[in-house]
Symmetry: D3
Subunit: 325 residues, 6 copies
C-alpha cells in the first residue's frame, strides 16, 4: 500500500473530495458495442470529474481514493495529476482498479457496464479518510455513489462528513443515485441522512423525489429538500436548467441551449461551477450562471470531463441571467 | 437465461469443449498501458481458442459456456459463431461477461489483468453440462482453468469428464495452470486428478513439474505424467518443441523457428493441431507435425487465435519430421 | 465448391432469403474519397440486411448465396454467421467476392461504386436454389437486385419463387430497382412479373411508378400494385413514412423523426420489421409500427445493418400509431 | 534553391496566385488539444485554397511560393500538384516550412496556432515574382496575408500587383486581415492601398470596416470600398450571404443554408467560385450563384479545401437566385 | 473521355511508360483479412512504381494509361501527379478503375486479390498510344503485365514498342509475368517477342526460365536472354542480388542486406535505379549499384512505392561494388 | 506570466533540472513524412526525459522551464505532472511552445525537424532560475542544449550551475551537443566550460572528442574529460555500452543486447539510471548496471521517454556486471 501524492495541496481555502475513479473504455462511434474493434481509453468518476472542473476554474482541490497497484491504476493517477489536482491515491495491491465501459447504442441512448464490484476503489476505508486535511479545508464534496460501494466506503463517507461538520468545513453533497449499485429502498435512508448533513445539496428531479417524495413543481422539491437541513439546495434539471433555494430565496436558471455531443459529466461540471464561485464568495446568481456554463461546456466535447472549461474560456458561451422569485 | 445456438453441431465424430471466453482488450503498441489512448477489442479463452483452431482445420466442434446478457457477451457469441463453431452460450443476466486486458510492456514482456471474479463464465454449473452431447461426441477437451473459476465450475468439469469416460468419449486435458487464479498447493491435487482421468494430456514443463515433481529431462516428465493414467502425454516446450509419449513410445518434435509477433495462444493452437489429426486417425508423428505448424502460425499474427491456420494454409510453413526414440 | 453451413436452420416457420452479399468499403469521414487514407471494411447486401434484421428480432432465417473462395468471401460468411443466420454460402473458386465502395461526398450525398460484374455472387444458379428448404419455410424473401445480376441469377430467383408458390410458402418481394445494374426498360417487365408472383410487395415511390406508372398519391400507387396480385402492398416513403394496402384496407404510417446518420439499409430494416411481426401473426398496424421503428434504428448508426435493433431494444424509439382510412 | 514545377501551366486565360502554404495539423475530435493523441496532417493557405477550388472548377491556375527543403515542404508540393495546379515552389534550404495547428475547442469554437515566423513561405521576395507569367495571365489573385509576413513578402505582392496592372492582367484581392500577424493600425493603410489597386475586391464585414470605417448596411460598405477603385466589390457575410457592387449595380445573394461541419476555407471557396465564372465571362448573378455554392460545399467537409466542388458536382446543392436592386 | 495532364513533360531525354495503375487496399497488420476492420487506401502499378522512382531520382517521366471516371480514378491521378510525373490519364466513363487488395497472412506470406477484369486500365487501346511523345523520348519502359490485360492493351504495347524502335528510342522491358492474368503457355511467346524487341531487359530467375528454359546458373540465363536480342540483360534475384550482361560483359552485384518490411515494389525500384543512371550515361557498375540501393529502400517502408528514395537519400544505404567477371 | 506547480517538491535529497520541453509530433510508420495522414502527439526534451526516468525510479525531481500560454504548453505541463514531477512551468504569453517533428525515413534512419527558434522555452532567463531550490537540492542536472537556445538561456544555465557549486549541490552535466542549434566552433568552449564545472559528466564518443579532441580508446576520452574537472565521467557508447572513470577508477560496462524499436531517449534514460543510484549512495558498478538497464528499456518502446522503467520493472532485463580495470 503506497501513497502517491502530487499537485498543489488544497490547504485551507481549498476543496477535498473522495470517491472512486475508474478506467473508462468507450466505443468511439454510435452502434452496438459488439461491432467495435477499438475502444477509447480514459478515466472517469463523479467526484474526480468535479475535482477536475474545480481545478480548471482555479480552485485548489485534493482527491483521495484507492486504485489498484496495476496499470489502470497508474492511468487514473496520471490523468488526475495531469489536471493539477493534489492526488492522494492509495495503491491497493489486493484489488484491481475498477472500470466502466460505455456504449452509445444510438447518438442519444447510452449504456454503461461497470466492473467495480470488489474493486480497489470500493475498498475505501475510514482509515483512509484524511481527517486533518478535511478539517483544514474550506469544503468537502461527497456523492451518493461512494456509500453504495461497500460498507467500509459508506463508513468512510460518514466519517468524512462528520469530521467536516465538527471542524466547520462546508459539506457539499450530490445525491448521484446509481440504480446499478443499490435499490431505492436501501439507498433512500442513507442518501437522506447524508443530505441532512450537507450544507449544499445537489439533486436531480428524480433523485429529489427519491428523498422527499414526488412533487409537481421543482420548487416544491427544493423546498422539501431544504427542510432536511441544507441551507443551499440546487435541483439540477439538465436541458431545463435548474431551480435553487439558497438561504430561503428561490432562483430559476435556464440552461444554455446547445447541441449536446455527450451529456455524461454535465451534472458534475454544473456542481463544480456552482462550488467554485461559492468559494470565491460570489452571489447565488453568479454561482448559477457559472454552473450552467460549465454544464454546457461538458456537453460539447466527447468524454466525461475532457470538455470542462478553464476560467478563461467561460466567456465562449453566453448564459441568461437567472430569475429570482 | 437464454440459450443461443449456432454453427454445425459437433455431433458424433466431433469435439465438445466448455469453459470461459472473455472479452479481451489489448494495447496495440508496446509500452506502459497508461500511455495508450485506444485498446483493441476482441475475445479470448483457452478452450475457445482450441475450438476455433479445430474448426479452421475442419473438425466439427461445439463450445459450451456462460456469458453475460450484455454487449461483451454479444461480442463473444458473435466471434465464436463467426468462426463456425456450434455455440451454446448461456446468457446469464446475473453477472457480467469476464474480461482481460493485455499490456505489452516491451515486445517480449506481456502482462494480463483479469476481470473475471464473479463473471458469468465463472458461474458455469453442472446443470449446464451437455451430458448427451458429450456422450455422443468423439472427444471432450477441458482445461485446468475452469476448475479454478468457482466451485460450481469445478463440479461442471468433473461431471463433463465423468460423463465422457462413462460414454467412451476420449478425454483431452490441457493443464493450463493459472497462478492468478489459485495457488500451486490448491491447484495441484485438482489438476492431478483431472490428468489422471484424461486419455490425452497436454502440459508445459512447469505444469508437468507441478503435477509430478521436477525432472531433468522432459522425457522423464512425460513418463511420470503417463503413470497418472493418460495413454498420450505431450509436454509442450514452446520454442524448444515438444516431447510426447504415446502408447509407450517417445517422440521428440522440434518447433518451427519463427520470429514471434505474439506467442499467446500458441499452446492452444498446438493442442488443436494434435487433436485434429488424432481425430482423423493420423499417426503420432503426423499429429505432432501439424501441432508445431499450428503453434507457429499462432505466433505470427497479433491476437490469441486470429492467426490460427486453415487446413489449406498449413503448407505455408515447413516443419521437420519428429524424431522417435 | 464447398458449402458452409451455420446458425439455426430456419426450418418451418422461418424465413429463407437468397441473393448477393458483398464486401463493403466505406470512407469514414465526409469528403471526396480520393482524400481518404483508410477505408472501413464490412459487408452489405439487401437480402442479408433483411436477414440480419429478422434474426435480431428473433425470426429464424437462412441465407443462401455465392461468395468467392477468397478472404472477402470469408469475411462475408464470418459476419453473417456472427449474426446468427443459418448461412449456406457456396464458395465459388472461379470468381471473386463482389465488393462495393461507399463515398460520402457530403453528409447527405452518398456515392456507391460496385465491383460485382462477374462476381461469385452474380453466378448464382438455379442448381443452387434450396427447393426443399423453401418448401418447408414460412416465407421466402427476394429482391429485384438478384435478377439483374445475371441470367442464371434471374433463373434462380424465378425457380425460388415458383417453388415457394407451389409449396404455399409466402413470397415477399422488395422491388429494389438498381439503375447501375440495368435500365428501366429491361428491368420493368421482370420486376412486374416478380411483383405479380408475390404475396407481400415492398416498393419505393419511384419503384412503384416504374411498375405501374406515375400517380399523384401513394395510395393510388399501392392500389395499382395490389392489382398486380399481392394481397399486401407497402409503399416505402423514407422520412415520409409509408402507405400500405393490406387485404383491401389502406394504412398510413408516419416515420419516426430522427436525425439520420446513415440512411442506407433503412429500407431493408423496414421490410424486416414488417415481416417479423407478420410471421408472429400480428395485425397490419403492429407490423407497420415495428417497421418504422426498425427503419429509424438503421438510420441512427453508421453502416448498412449494424444499427438494426434487437427486439428488446425496440422500445428505445417511440412511434405514432398508424392511421387507417 | 530548387524550382519544382508541375501541373498545367496557367498560360494566357489562366490565374496566377502567390502566397504561403503551410502544413496543417488538426485535432480530429472537438475538445482541448492537450487531450489529443493524434493530429491529422494536411496543408492549408488562403491563396492555394482558392487555387485548388479554381482548378476543380476547370480554371487553369499556377501557384507560386516558398516552402522549406524539408519533408513538410514536400507535403505542400505533393498536395498542390495532386490537385492539378501548376506548382512553382521554391524550396528554401534556409528556413522551415510554416505550419499551423487547429484545435476545435467545441464544435463551434476553433483556435489556430501558427508556426510561421521566419518560415520559408514568409521569405517570399520580389525576385521570386514571375513577372512574365503574370503579364501573360488573365488574372492575378493575392491576399492581405502575404504583405503581413515580411517586408520582402510585402514587396513581392506589390511588384506582382504593379506588374499585373501594367500588363492589363485583372487583379483580384481578398483582404483576409489576420490579427495574429499585424495590428489594425499597421495593416489598414497597406490593405487599403492594395484594395485600391484591385479590379475585384473581396472583404468580410469587419475587413470592410477596417478599410473604410463602420457602416450600418453592407451596401454602404460595398459602396465605400468601390470608391477606393475596384469596379467589382464583394462583401462576404458568411451564413448571411453577400452583397456585391459590380460596375455600379448592387446585388444581394443569400447563402445556401447548410449544417456546417467546418467553415474554414469557405471564404476562399467563395472567391474561387466568383472568379471561375467571371473568367468564363458569366454575369455577376451567375458568378454569385456559383460563389455561394462553392462556399457551402467547403463547409460540408472537414478540412480547409478538401470539400471544394468539381464543376460536375455543383448541382448537388441548390441556390436561390440573387436579388439585384 | 477526358485527358488530364500535369507534371513536367518528359520531353526529349525523358522516359515514357504506359500501363495500368490501380487503387490498392491493404490490411495494416498481419493476419487473415477477414479480421481487419480497416484497410489502408493507396495506389499501385508496376509501370507507375518505376515512374515514381525515376521521378524521385530526377528523371523526367510521363505516365500514360486509363482510369475510370470515378473517385478511385481521381485517387490514382492525384497520387501520380503528387509525385511529379507528367500524367496523361484518360478518364474512361465506361469502366471502373481497377483495384487490388493485399493481405499479409503472416509477416512473410502475402496474398493479392485483383479486381481488374474489364477495368478502365485494361481497356488501353492503340489509339491511346502517344506516338509522337514516344518518338521524342529517350526511353520507353513497358512490362509484361499490360499485354495480359486485354487484346487492345497488347496491341497498344506492341504499337508503343514498334514506335520506339522506329524512332530510335531505347526500349526497356520488364518481364513481370503475372500467373493470375494468363498461363505460362499463352504468356511465353508474347513475352519472348517483347523481350526480343527490347534494348534493356529485366527478368527474375523464374521469368527468365519461362522465356529461355531453366538453367543452373543465372549467368546462363542472362546469356540466353541476350541471345533474344537485348544488349543489356539484368536478371533480378531479390535478396541474392543480380546478374547482368551488358554489351557482352557479365556483372554480379550483391544485394544490400536489410530486414525487409515489405518487398513488393522492390523489383520496380531496382529497374528505376538502373534506368535513371543509364540515362545519365553512367557505367553498368554504377547503374547496378544504384539499382540495389533503390531496391533495398523499397523494402524498408510499407507500400509498393512510398519508400522509394530521392537521389539525395541514396547515401543512407551503403552497397558493395559489383564484381565483373 | 503564470507559475504552475505540481508534483512532490524535490526538496533536499532531490534533483532539480531545467531546460526546454517541446511538443513532439511523430510519424507512426516508417517512410517519408509526406505520406503520413496522421501524426502522434506527445512531448519531449532531454532534461524532462531524465526527470521522468528519475521519478519512475523513485527520485524526487523538479523540472523548471518555460512553455507558451497555448494548448501545446498545456500538453507539456499535463504530461510532466502526470509523471509525478514537481512542475514549475512559466507560461509565457509572448511566445509559442516549441515543437519537434520526427520522421522515420526507414526503421533506422530518423530525421527531426525543430520549430523552437524564438519559442517560449528558448526564452528561459536567469530570473527564472530557482536559486533557493537549487541550493536545497541534492543534485542539479543540466544539458548542453539549453545554452544553445539563446543568450538568456545560456546565462540561466550558468547561474544555475554557479548557484549549485556555491551551495555544494552536486552538478550533473550531459553534453548533448546538437548540430542543428550551433556549430562545433561556437559550442565547444561553452560546453567545455560547463563540463569543467560539473561533478558528474556524461558525453557520447563524438561529444567527448568535441571537448577534448579525438582519441583511439574511450578510456582515453574519459581520462581527458576528467582532467577538465569532474570526478565522475561516463562516456556513453550506445549499443557498445559505456566507459566510466569514477574517482580515478575505470569501469567498463556492456550494453544489454536488445532489438531496438526507438533509440531516441536511451541516453537520457541511461543518465537517469546512473543518477538515481548515485543519489541512493550505491557503488559505481551498481550505478552503471542500472544505467544500461534503463537505457535498454527506453529502446524497447516507441517514444522518447514512454518506455522508461519503474524501479519494480528493472528486473525484467538482465545485465552483465561491469568490468573494472
Amino acid at each position: 500500500m503506497t501513497e502517491v501524492s502530487g499537485g498543489s495541496p488544497a490547504g485551507s481555502g481549498g476543496v477535498i473530495t473522495l470517491g472512486e475513479t475508474m478506467a473508462l473504455m468507450r466505443a468511439q462511434t454510435p452502434g452496438p458495442l459488439a461491432h467495435a474493434s477499438e475502444l477509447g481509453l480514459g478515466i472517469g468518476g463523479a467526484e474526480s470529474n468535479v475535482a477536475i472542473a474545480l481545478a480548471r476554474l482555479g480552485t485548489p482541490v485534493s482527491w483521495f481514493g484507492r486504485v489498484g497497484a496495476d496499470s489502470l491504476g497508474e492511468l487514473v493517477v496520471r490523468e488526475l495529476r495531469a489536471e493539477g489536482l493534489e492526488v492522494r491515491a492509495i495503491r491497493d495491491p489486493a484489488a484491481p482498479t475498477g472500470l466502466m465501459i460505455k456504449e452509445r447504442r444510438t447518438q442519444h441512448n447510452q449504456k454503461v457496464w461497470y466492473y467495480r464490484a470488489g474493486s480497489a476503489g470500493s475498498r475505501l476505508d475510514p482509515a483512509d479518510v484524511p481527517v486533518e486535511e478535511i478539517a483544514a479545508a474550506a469544503l468537502l464534496h461527497v456523492t451518493g455513489i461512494t456509500p453504495a460501494l461497500s460498507a467500509s466506503a459508506a463508513d468512510a463517507v460518514d466519517l468524512a462528513v462528520r469530521t467536516a461538520r465538527a471542524a466547520g468545513t462546508t459539506v457539499s453533497f450530490d445525491v448521484n443515485y446509481r440504480g446499478a449499485l443499490w435499490s431505492p429502498e436501501v439507498a433512500s435512508p442513507v442518501l437522506r441522512s447524508l443530505a441532512g448533513s450537507a450544507d449544499i445539496l445537489f439533486a436531480g428531479d428524480d433523485e429529489a423525489a427519491l428523498l422527499v417524495g414526488p412533487a409537481e413543481d421543482p420548487r416544491e422539491l427544493a423546498g422539501a429538500l431544504a427542510e432536511l437541513g441544507p441551507s443551499q439546495v440546487v435541483v439540477k434539471r439538465g436541458g431545463q436548467g435548474c431551480v435553487a433555494l439558497v438561504d430561503g430565496v428561490y432562483f430559476e436558471q435556464a440552461a444554455i441551449p446547445v447541441q449536446p455531443v455527450d451529456t455524461v459529466g454535465a451534472g458534475d461540471a454544473f456542481v463544480a461551477g456552482y462550488l467554485a464561485e461559492r468559494l470565491r464568495g460570489l452571489t447565488p446568481r453568479e454561482c448559477l450562471l457559472t454552473a450552467v456554463r460549465t454544464g454546457a461546456f461538458a456537453c460539447l466535447v466527447p468524454g466525461d470531463w475532457e470538455g470542462m472549461p478553464r476560467r478563461s474560456e467561460l466567456g465562449l458561451l453566453e448564459a441568461t441571467e437567472p430569475v429570482s422569485r
